[in-house]
């Protein structure tokens, strides 16, 4: 792996623009620190709406004269997480996947094959997000699954509320597997819990073996990592060991599947995994229902 060239990503050290290394002010002093005093690393830009570098004293006194501090301590995801929890409750009868990848990794192709291979003994439905068009839903519908397209317009990821609205059109009660195909994007979807059981992150052999290192968050949160298009791995000079090493480094707990959605090679193991996870969830739900009763 060559050395990192980006300079704007947050490094694994704390950078505070408000506290820096200056000693704490006594309560009530309300004096602003000199501009830039807390920024040690010029390679990283710390967001600040003004050039003033102001800090809050440890006693909770506002640094701005005349202002007071209101503690909030809430996640920005609090609304989404609430809707995701409601989704999870509504999805209790189904195994739910949230599939994320770059555009063109083969999410829709894998889902077409998954639908064909699971259909018969397990019912599958798909919710698919794209900025525009319902082409993917059409493809998945043709493969035999009820499919709902979410057209996000300019939004680069799916949120729990979009999924909640979309599944209104599906009969969740009789559904064994619900697959949510996220917008093709390896950055933005990461923070939004949709109420899924499994986060599936895909990459394909044309994308570079170090993709997990470039997009660590979305691989780190993956329960399963799918490496697609292995039928053309040799032609494109894919270094399998290096790719697997990248995945293991970032996501040591994830199950890894190497397959070709186009030829079907390796898909059997993936299908078995879904059947097994579906079975485990159904038994866990049945056990919980027995306990509750």
């Amino acid at each position: 792996m060559s050395g990192p060239t980006e300079t704007t990503a947050p490094a694994a050290t704390p950078a505070t623009d408000t506290r820096g290394s200056a000693p704490a002010e006594p309560a009530g002093s309300g004096i602003a620190a000199p501009a830039g005093s807390g920024i040690a690393d010029p390679g990283r830009v710390v967001a600040s709406a003004t050039t003033r570098d102001v800090r809050v004293s440890p006693h909770g006194t506002a640094a701005t004269p005349g202002a007071r501090v209101v503690q909030v301590q809430k996640s920005l995801m609090v609304h989404n997480d609430g809707v995701a929890a409601a989704n999870r409750e509504a999805f209790r009868h189904s195994l739910v996947l949230n599939v994320v990848s770059s555009p063109g990794s083969g999410k829709t192709a894998l889902l077409e094959r998954t639908v064909r291979d699971l259909n018969g003994d397990l019912s599958v439905a798909i919710v698919v997000g794209d900025l525009e068009t319902d082409n993917d839903a059409e493809r998945l519908h043709a493969a035999g699954a009820p499919s709902v397209q979410i057209v996000t317009g300019t939004v680069c990821h799916l949120e729990a509320e979009m999924v909640a609205r979309a599944v209104d059109q599906l009969d969740l009660g009789g559904l064994d597997v619900l697959v949510i195909e996220n917008v093709g994007n390896l950055v933005c979807p990461a923070a939004w819990d949709l109420g899924e059981d499994l986060r599936v992150t895909m990459l394909s052999v044309t994308e570079g073996e170090d993709k997990p290192l470039k997009y660590p968050r979305i691989f780190k949160d993956a329960d399963a990592v799918v490496i697609n298009k292995i039928d053309i791995a040799q032609v494109v000079g894919f270094d399998r060991e290096r790719a697997l090493d990248s995945v293991r480094k970032v996501a040591p707990g994830a199950r890894v599947f190497e397959l070709s959605a186009r030829t079907g090679e390796g898909v059997g193991e993936w299908i078995d995994y879904l059947r097994e996870r579906r079975r485990l969830k159904a038994s866990a739900m049945a056990a919980a229902a027995t306990d509750a009763g």
């Binding site: 704007t8 505070t16 040591p252």
Partner: protein
């Protein structure tokens, strides 16, 4: 550009908290963002500049504290800070990879400064 969604959510929480405190203006917003939260500082600032117009935080300052990524090693039973930006969590004491991230995903509205 998911930062715009994050900022909209932040402004919603901030205005509710400020109103509940009887304030009329928000003069500063303080966020805590984990190193692996996937937030681009410039994008966050850009989104904030646009989204705050017409809100109680129209003239507010945005302060961000970045939190390092910290993982837990089950073998050593101790936490360690990741020494890289790639999300690779390998225990510096025993070399065991860890999938147990304890800090680094935060997207937290910590506190506000408000005025009457």
């Amino acid at each position: 550009m998911h930062e715009f969604s994050l900022v909209m959510s932040m402004l919603d929480l901030a205005e509710k908290a400020a109103r509940a405190d009887g304030a009329r203006r928000i003069s500063a917003v303080h966020l805590e963002i984990g190193a692996l939260a996937g937030v681009v500082p410039e994008a966050l600032e850009f989104a904030f500049e646009g989204a705050r117009v017409g809100t109680m935080a129209e003239n507010a300052r945005l302060d961000v504290t970045y939190l390092p990524a910290i993982a837990y090693c089950a073998t050593c039973q101790s936490e360690f800070e990741l020494d890289n930006r790639f999300g690779i969590a390998v225990c510096p004491s025993c070399d065991t990879p860890s999938a147990d991230l304890r800090q680094g995903r935060e997207l937290q509205l910590a506190h506000l400064e408000v005025e009457e």
